[in-house]
């Protein structure tokens, strides 16, 4: 039996590596995901059925029930969720994984207190699992708007340091003394949970994708630690793969936003945004209406659409596709300019536009589109703000200074659709709106674009 299970785990491990590799290429991604899923299914079934243990029918029934309940709920959430909610969802699922790891540690601690190595593994598993769980829930709450974006706690740094030192001392004490106390065990769990909350709470909404990616990586590490505990290779390798891949992905995202991981974690965004909020008005703005905007676009040679998260919030991704089609029919060249962090997560905008059947080759990445703006008649910015803010180039005091942006201010005309003059996710003013080439088209993205399309149809 042992041999069979080991072979099953070996196969599953290979599917993880191959699946992850295939996920990295557009043509093979879907298949890669399914291969990894099949491997995971194999590992789960193998673990339940292939062993020499004497297990009571009651336990088998409980396991089957747990798997059934989890599968049904997971499946329902996955097929029902709106694509705009993707970052929240990843965060929530990730929290569940972390919680699972922490619970395993709670059960195993009592049996392994006398072995310092095992106890160390278990204690680290509980801490990391707890941090991931509470941190992911906070990230989830922030992204769906339940929690205010930036929360400042008085004496944050001191509290944070005390909690970190507390965790280390707590853990060291438990391992060193080998004390089998449920009270201490749950105390350790609670401290981990508190730290997870403290860790994510002060981080600004714009940095949340980086945090989710980092937490995702941590769940992988928690899984790997559990793998060491059970001397189980599929958990060890699977967890480490996610852990190291997650770190690479986190760094890639930081690069796209021109931020260092350190500045994300230590919340520089939140600190400077407050100062930048003191900006006075930067001149006057020019209003336009859908019919004037329609006339401008009708006679343009080319239009570049810059979609942002506001577009997705208004569920306007289908209307924008309609606009693009009608302009194309009228002989206007249309392209979409996609900033790497458009939406709430890198690549999120691509998913959203793909959902409304926008052709893949109409989406142009930042580095390719930026030189073309000088020859663009009209740029239509829909629900994007920080990714087109020239302050990233010319205001060293701005918190987003240095972030690569779409250089829309080089275009001949810029039409910005926004609901109001409220600041973007980073909480800062945007001088683009006060540019003499810019016209503001205020209103809900879906309503405004629908009117725009209707006007164009009548021309």
């Amino acid at each position: 039996m042992g041999i069979l299970l080991n072979i099953i785990y070996l196969i599953a491990t290979v599917t993880f590596v191959v699946g992850l590799k295939m996920l990295g290429h557009p043509e093979t991604a879907k298949k890669g995901n399914l291969i990894a899923a099949a491997g995971m299914g194999l590992a789960i079934i193998g673990t339940v059925l292939v062993h020499d243990l004497e297990v009571s029918p009651l336990i088998y029934m409980l396991i089957a029930a747990a798997i059934l309940v989890g599968s049904i709920i997971g499946w329902l959430i996955a097929i029902k969720v709106e694509m705009t909610k993707m970052p929240e969802l990843v965060s929530l699922f990730n929290g569940f994984g972390g919680a699972s790891a922490a619970l395993i540690g709670l059960v195993e601690y009592g049996k392994n207190v006398n072995d310092a190595t095992q106890a160390t593994t278990i204690v680290s598993g509980i801490i990391i699992g707890a941090i991931t769980f509470s941190g992911s829930l906070i990230a989830w709450g922030k992204l769906n708007g339940t929690l205010k974006s930036v929360v400042r706690i008085p004496y944050y740094n001191s509290i944070n340091n005390i909690v970190v030192i507390g965790i280390v001392i707590f853990a060291a004490f438990m391992v060193a003394t080998g004390v089998d106390s449920q009270l201490l065990l749950y105390g350790l769990l609670a401290t981990g949970l508190v730290y997870g909350i403290l860790f994510v709470l002060p981080i600004g909404g714009a940095d949340m994708p980086v945090v989710i990616s980092l937490l995702n990586s941590l769940t992988g590490i928690a899984a790997a630690i559990t793998g060491i505990l059970y001397n189980n290779m599929v958990m060890l390798v699977g967890g480490i793969l996610v852990g190291s891949a997650g770190i690479i992905l986190t760094v890639a995202m930081c690069k796209a936003m021109n931020r260092t991981l350190g500045s994300v974690i230590f919340g520089a965004f939140g600190a400077t945004a407050a100062a930048a909020g003191e900006n006075k008005t930067m001149g006057s703005i020019k209003n336009t209406n859908p019919s004037d905007a329609a006339i401008m676009m009708n006679y343009a040679n080319n239009v570049v659409i810059v979609p942002g998260y506001g577009l997705a919030v208004a569920q306007a991704q289908h209307v924008i596709h309609e606009l693009e089609e009608i302009l194309s029919k009228k002989g206007v060249g249309v392209k979409y300019a996609i900033h790497p962090v458009a939406g709430r997560m890198p690549g999120h905008m691509n998913v959203l536009l793909a959902e409304s059947n926008v052709e893949y080759n109409m989406l142009v990445e930042m580095d390719d589109i930026n030189p073309q703006f000088a020859n663009t008649d009209i740029v239509l910015v829909v629900g994007a703000n920080d990714v087109v803010n020239p302050a990233a180039h010319n205001n060293p005091a701005s918190p987003i200074f240095g972030m690569p942006i779409l250089d829309v201010e080089n275009a001949k005309h810029i039409i910005v659709n926004k609901r109001s003059m409220n600041a973007g996710y980073a909480g800062i003013e945007n001088e683009l709106f006060y540019n003499s080439k810019t016209s503001m088209l205020f209103g809900d993205a879906k309503a405004a674009l629908t009117e725009l399309v209707a006007e164009l149809k009548n021309m």
């Binding site: 992850l20 879907k30 995971m40 590992a43 789960i44 409980l62 994984g97 060890l236 893949y360």
Partner: protein, 102 residues
């Protein structure tokens, strides 16, 4: 320090696997287009649900009268499966949208 070295010596195989797996993870993810970052994160997230294997082991080894272990194990399995099934299903749904349309 001594204990740390002893641990490595006692678990040489695991240490090798651990280090090699880190490199595999880095190599596999390197130079992935930004377009795929969201599905990739979601897929990797589903993979981290492999911790479910440990949750099942907890239940298999539990004494049928140890209700604490059984309930904690039960919740751990439910949450782990949620992570796995939900993660893979939603990744699939996302990638479905990327399929070339004619």
């Amino acid at each position: 320090m001594n204990e740390f070295l002893e641990f490595i010596d006692n678990n040489l195989q695991i240490t090798y696997i651990l280090i090699l797996a880190i490199f595999v993870g880095v190599e596999v993810i390197k130079s992935i287009p930004a377009v795929l970052h969201t599905p990739l994160m979601s897929g990797a997230n589903a993979l981290s649900g492999v911790v479910i294997v440990g949750a099942i082991l907890v239940m298999l080894h539990a004494d049928p009268t140890d209700y604490v272990a059984l309930s904690l194990g039960f919740i751990a399995v439910v949450l782990g499966v949620l992570n796995v099934v939900g993660g893979f299903a939603v990744t699939d749904r996302m990638l479905q949208m990327f399929k070339r349309k004619k």
